[in-house]
């Protein structure tokens, strides 16, 4: 590790993180204090300030859980429970992950197919592209519950409806990125292909596709994060039995704030992991294609 990395990256990030955690603790004390004061007067407890602060940070249903409470909950529900247990965060993350992955795969495929159609068929470019953009102003996340209920009423239940929401959210970035990528070869290179007497298919596979790969992976990073959001929101309706979304909803019903925060952390870790995996694949593909580290 270069000394610059330490000074320019790690120290600032860690400092800001520490500041954020400190603010979190202070906020937790202040937000939980009124309720704790009520409790104390009701139980006729008098305490020193230190004890009082300690109790605000260890309420079972706090308004804002302290970081260590959340960390403890996450740790318990991740490492100390059986995978099949209903309380295991790994189990819920797994359920969400499966519909995220299916939706992402479908969405990427659909996005690529649409992009290929758009660059080859002019009528499609002129007529479809504006509607694809308009389609994203439909708040699908907001109507996801309805989609799921309607699909459920014709006996399409389980993984597929949730995956379809993810598909809808993830195809857009892929389409836009892929259209841009497939159009990215320079005129000079296209002309060169023409002097080689290359067919349209050859130009496509040997010039356009390789040129589009970096664009594709950038969009896939956006798309997989969107897929996860779609999967989580897709779990909200129909009483949701499993998945990170169902944990959020259940926590919201029973005011289990620590559970909500733990589910939120699980979702965030999942998102970060998924984006990192796509980034890693991008790096491997780039190297396999002969790219050199900049």
């Amino acid at each position: 590790m270069k000394p610059d990395t330490l000074k320019d990256k790690i120290v600032p990030v860690l400092t800001i993180l520490l500041v954020l955690v400190a603010i979190w603790y202070v906020a937790a004390v202040f937000l939980n204090a009124p309720f704790q004061r009520d409790m104390d007067t009701r139980n006729n407890v008098t305490s020193t300030t230190t004890e009082f602060i300690g109790r605000t940070l260890s309420q079972p249903k706090p308004i804002l859980p302290a970081p260590h409470q959340v960390a403890q909950n996450v740790f318990e529900n991740t490492f100390l429970r059986k995978l099949s247990s209903n309380r295991s965060l790994v189990y819920h993350a797994g359920v969400t992950l499966s519909s995220t992955a299916l939706g992402f795969a479908l969405g990427t495929l659909l996005g690529i197919v649409i992009a290929v159609g758009i660059i080859h068929i002019k009528a499609l470019d002129r007529s479809l592209m504006p509607w694809i953009i308009a389609s994203q102003t439909v708040p699908i996340l907001a109507i996801a519950p309805m989609v799921i209920v309607v699909l459920g009423s014709i006996n399409i239940t389980g993984l597929l409806p949730k995956a379809l929401i993810s598909t809808y959210l993830s195809f857009f970035p892929v389409t836009v990125g892929m259209v841009k990528g497939l159009r990215s070869p320079e005129v000079m290179h296209l002309d060169l292909m023409r002097t080689y007497n290359a067919t349209a298919a050859q130009t496509f596979w040997k010039l356009r596709v390789p040129a589009s790969i970096p664009f594709l992976f950038t969009s896939m990073k956006v798309a997989i994060a969107a897929s996860l959001v779609g999967a989580i929101v897709g779990e909200l309706p129909t009483g949701a039995v499993a998945g990170i979304g169902s944990k959020l909803l259940a926590g919201s019903y029973y005011s289990q704030t620590i559970d909500i925060w733990a589910a939120l952390v699980a979702g965030s870790v999942l998102a970060a992991l998924l984006v990192a995996i796509v980034g890693l694949v991008a790096k491997i593909v780039d190297r396999a294609m002969g790219g050199r580290p900049a």
């Binding site: 320019d8 990256k9 600032p12 990030v13 860690l14 400092t15 800001i16 993180l17 954020l20 937000l31 308004i63 804002l64 002019k122 009528a123 470019d125 002129r126 007529s127 479809l128 592209m129 504006p130 509607w131 308009a134 994203q136 102003t137 439909v138 708040p139 996340l141 907001a142 109507i143 519950p145 309805m146 209920v149 309607v150 009423s153 014709i154 990073k221 994060a225 996860l228 959001v229 989580i232 929101v233 909200l236 309706p237 990170i244 959020l248 909803l249 926590g251 919201s252 005011s255 704030t257 909500i260 925060w261 589910a263 939120l264 979702g267 965030s268 998102a271 970060a272 984006v275």
Partner: protein, 375 residues
């Protein structure tokens, strides 16, 4: 000059019409008001003539209008035969519909080949082509739901949704006021402004930028919509909790984009500002902020859809008895699917208008940018 133009859409359309004529009648047994033979012949004739015209070696400006009239006239007549015969449409009906659709496709293909010279006709064409596409989505939706008798609960026809929108304007107005004018607009404004201010601070202090940006990049990829239940607990059921969700969702895209934008101005321009002896704030206001505008507007556009989504989803976690999210979740429970679709249509329209306004503002502010100037 070529004798015949190859038009595969026209060819298949002709085959469809022939097939439809073989499989008559248009509606199966039991239809209460079957269309007269004259109407069916008129539809078929319109389609056939339009298909034949698509083979003719005429100029596009002649073929396209003829196709337009033929395809849409036939489709209009076909829609008219539906009333009273819902659910009895046979193969013949759908073959005729397919023929009309193929002709409309051919029409769009012809229109895309047009190279208009005046700006106004160019503008008109750019509007007309997507409009035909959109209209056909509605036509196919309407004919299939009504023709094949798809249960109303599954998918109501667009005409019923339109009627519902007109019939319940006051309720929709109330929902829009609650969700869009309170939660979305307030949250969007606060979120974008605070993201912008923090970005300026991060730009001023390098330490903050180095620390905050990686975190900001990470957070903007996280499912921020998950904070909705927490915000509802903190700020109560009314619009402030929804606005809070919107603030959180819009803050990070704005932060990340503005910081990236502030780095966009070239070194040479900055050096020039230094030779003018301008201080930090002068450089910021006169050079770097204008240069950052494309990035800032990018964030504003992303946020315009995010804000609407955030507000509506937050309403699923508890809300007073008004608001678009509330209406969607309760009306689906009461199987009033047309009301839900009306709400969806209004939301989509509102989202498009919001996005359009931001895009127009972008055009006005970043008129100098190559993507607007048009190379």
């Amino acid at each position: 000059m070529k004798q015949v133009v190859l038009s595969w859409q026209g060819l298949i359309a002709l085959l469809c019409v022939v097939g439809a004529m073989v499989m008559l009648p248009v509606f199966g047994a039991g239809a209460t008001q079957p269309p007269s033979a004259g109407t069916v012949i008129l539809i078929a004739l319109l389609a056939i003539v339009a298909a034949l015209i698509s083979f003719a070696p005429l100029s596009t400006s002649l073929v396209a209008p003829a196709l337009f009239v033929g395809a849409h006239g036939a489709a209009w007549l076909l829609l008219g035969t539906l009333s009273g015969n819902e659910g009895f449409a046979g193969a013949s009906f759908f073959l005729l519909l397919a023929a009309c659709w193929l002709l409309a496709w051919r029409c769009v293909t012809e229109l895309s080949e047009l190279k208009p010279t005046t700006p106004s006709s160019q503008w008109l064409l750019r509007l007309l082509i997507p409009a035909i596409f959109g209209a056909w989505i509605l036509i196919i939706w309407e004919t299939i739901t009504r023709g094949a008798g798809i249960p109303f609960v599954l998918l109501p026809p667009p005409s019923a949704i339109g009627a519902r929108i007109i019939g319940s304007l006051p309720i929709l107005g109330e929902d829009i006021r609650q969700t869009i004018f309170k939660a979305v607009l307030i949250g969007y404004t606060i979120g974008c402004v605070s993201g912008f201010v923090v970005a300026i601070l991060a730009d001023r202090f390098a330490f903050l930028r180095r620390g905050l940006l990686p975190i900001g990049n990470l957070v903007s990829a996280l499912p921020m919509i998950g904070v909705a239940p927490i915000m509802v607990m903190w700020f109560g059921f009314d619009w402030p909790s929804k606005a809070a969700v919107v603030i959180i969702m819009t803050f990070f895209p704005m932060l990340v984009n503005t910081v990236a934008g502030l780095a966009a101005s070239g070194n040479m321009e900055r050096d020039l500002m230094r030779t003018y002896a301008s201080n930090y704030w002068q450089t910021l206001v006169k050079l770097r902020l204008p240069a950052a505008m494309p990035f800032i507007f990018n964030a504003l556009k992303i946020n315009s859809t995010l804000a609407l989504i955030g507000a509506i989803v937050a309403e699923f976690f508890g809300t007073p008895i008004v608001g678009m999210g509330f209406r969607i979740s309760t009306e689906i429970g009461r199987m009033n699917v047309d009301m839900v679709w009306a709400e969806i249509a209004v939301a989509a329209l509102a989202g498009s208008i919001f996005y359009g306004v931001v895009a127009l503002a972008e055009r006005a502010v970043t008129f100098w940018h190559p993507s607007i100037r048009g190379g």
